[in-house]
Symmetry: none
Subunit: 226 residues, 4 copies
DNA sequence: AATGAATGAGCCTTCATTCAT
DNA sequence: GATGAATGAAGGCTCATTCAT
């Protein structure tokens, strides 16, 4: 078994376990068992449990972002389109169970209960994306909008998106299962959040007026456990 | 020391500790030490550590809701006013350090990482408040707005609010400290979220157009540690 | 089993093991096993392994000193007598196998390889005895003898005594077994060291001249393993 | 890197580490790191950690004895001179920090806590030196002095010398730092021990009478850490 | 011949829990 | 009824050693 092989196996084994149980509850024994490696490997490859945790969080970031990158928009693309795609990308990353469903959960855990991995995550990962969102909003806001207001609007967009992941359990408890799987797909929610935001910015008719939003043709069921 | 006395002391001691460290990281020894009672008391009064945790979460709910109740609106109060007050109440509960600052954190913890206490919490605590919000929105939405859309809009409001508590660490990492204490008070955020929502519903001019929002006169600084 | 009972059992079990193997080589498991108590007892009663070690060293001091106290001399006792008894007491403590043979070894270990227990040992235990020796020597030295010289002479006395314990293994390797058991008893060595010292101080005829020293009537065999 | 090169590097790296930390506390990793060789080298070149330890002790013996040999006295040299030089050589070896200061400490460690290396050490190293001392003493003792008495006197000389190394920590705890660096140099102590011994043998005036001992002109400070 | 990766036994310690008092 | 003493299971980690290369 090669060097990188063991490292990778450890990260892959640690991901779901850290995501499910948190740092403290996860045991190195369980992780090593699942990875099929020796108990001492974690200390050998990562120094200690905490370092493995941090690397696992970073790995989660990569696994989540890489397969669903933000589009590279050509010049002239309407900001409405960009916003729609930005929001959808965010939601797909968070709600889709396609790749490493544990990674989102691990990142959310880190957001609520920040460890040393969080600062790094915020600066390297969240800040560039937030700046990207602000740039999109800038195209739709008057030039004299103060910076703090732009950030507040940005947080409103982000807040609406992450809510479904952070508080997925509560959403599931307040909504029928049928509605959940039909109306809370990444696609539907992206429509809704974009629409609401654009309406707030005066770029669309207000909610409830025009608002027929076509349901997704191939709904991706939302699995609140991920 | 009376029976109830010890129980109460244990709950009061457990609250901040569970909130800060989580269930696993908190030790019964520390809780008992802070409560000034015997180590065996937890097992004696609550059965085991987990039962104490659940009771502590319920206690947090009571402590958080009681001192900041939602207003009882007289008939004829404009829905815009109601929404503003609803949002502000939510934010004050979550951001203010007035009473039991740990309780919000404990509830957020429970939301991300639901234990057996979560379902109960959702039904008894979140559902009535969510219904109250939906009733307010109903007054501003066309009668034929489908239920699922009303819920989505409701979640958008809630999502914007809880974001600052759930992801407080990330917000703090992305915003200057000066701006944080000036623009992210419960009052300011309530203004912003209400305004955005009303604009989206066509009840106010769009964001950025009229939008001068007066800052709070007595800003309550947001303490991200709470 | 009472509180003090367990503490005492642990100290008694730890003594020989620490003495034989040193701090690092001794395992808490072995100590607890020999004491017949739970593995966690050491942490419960002493905090950690190191604290147990320090207490064991102190216990060794007590066990060694208590059964063989220095005499309380009446006024007018000749300094030659006092010196003889001082030296003999030192040697009996170090060479006799009567009580806690491990304790001397543990103390010697601490002397060679000082841990945090050593300073305390030196101040509380060695210094008073050293002062006692200096007082005896003072009676035989001219009043103008500088302090540093008195201390050097004191160390010469002590050095001769402890040598047989510190370097017992080497002595045993250089001397026939028969001579070892006959001439290296505490009694004989006390005679020799006292005689040599007194001769050096001009209080006795030089070595080799008068020197008939009666052998001990009941020789205490020297057990170099202790 | 040649075969012998690696062996030598390992021995040189192991010396100070074994001397400072003892056999158990020293780790092969640290030794190999300092030697700049592979972790597996110790097992490859020496079989295991213990074998390396034994070889290191033997190396210490060589390093200590070679640069400070005993003088080869011409016939007719006074035994007082010889004793003085013998004692001084012993003390210089033990107290000087000139060459391989660790080696003395390692040997002392071996004396207190004999391993398989000790017997060899005693026979090959200590016995010849002890015989040399006895020969010097013979010149000053009556011919009919019994062997066992000559050995006792020899041990008294040796005991006084090694005391400052074996119990250096205790000496340092009982003596002011100023006095320590001024009066406990190899030169001063050699004067003192020789003087005391000669006085005991009737070859010099008793201590305290004539005894002005000139301090060393170039005092070699005693470094108790060596 | 010589190594770097990998191992597993064993270390000290912590913890929630129990039980005699 | 309530406690302080005591427990044992399990935790992360260190280390000398081994083995394929």
């Amino acid at each position: 078994m090669s060097h990188d092989d063991v490292r990778t196996r450890l990260l892959q084994a640690a991901g779901p376990i850290f995501a499910e149980k948190g740092f403290q509850n996860a045991t190195v024994r369980e992780i090593c068992e699942r990875a099929g490696v020796n108990v001492a490997s974690i200390n050998y490859y990562f120094g200690d449990k905490e370092r493995l945790y941090i690397e696992t969080v970073k790995e989660a970031r990569r696994l989540k972002a890489d397969p669903t990158p933000f589009p590279q928009w050509a010049q002239g693309v309407a900001p409405e389109i960009k916003l729609r795609q930005f929001v959808q990308t965010l939601l797909v990353r968070m709600l889709s169970a396609n790749t490493a469903p544990w990674s989102t959960r691990l990142i959310m855990r880190e957001i609520l209960d920040p460890t040393s991995a969080c600062k790094e995550l915020a600066q390297e990962f969240f800040r560039p994306e937030f700046e990207m969102l602000l740039a999109i909003l800038d195209e739709m806001l008057p030039a004299d909008t103060p910076d703090y207001r732009r950030r507040q609007i940005g947080f409103s967009v982000i807040g609406q998106c992450v809510f479904y992941r952070l508080a997925g359990g509560v959403v599931a408890a307040l909504v029928d299962e049928g509605e959940l799987s039909q109306r809370y797909t990444a696609h539907d929610l992206a429509n809704h959040i974009t629409h609401l935001t654009l309406a707030a910015l005066g770029r669309k008719p207000p909610l409830g007026i025009s608002g027929a939003i076509a349901p997704a043709r191939h709904p991706v069921p939302h699995d609140p456990r991920n």
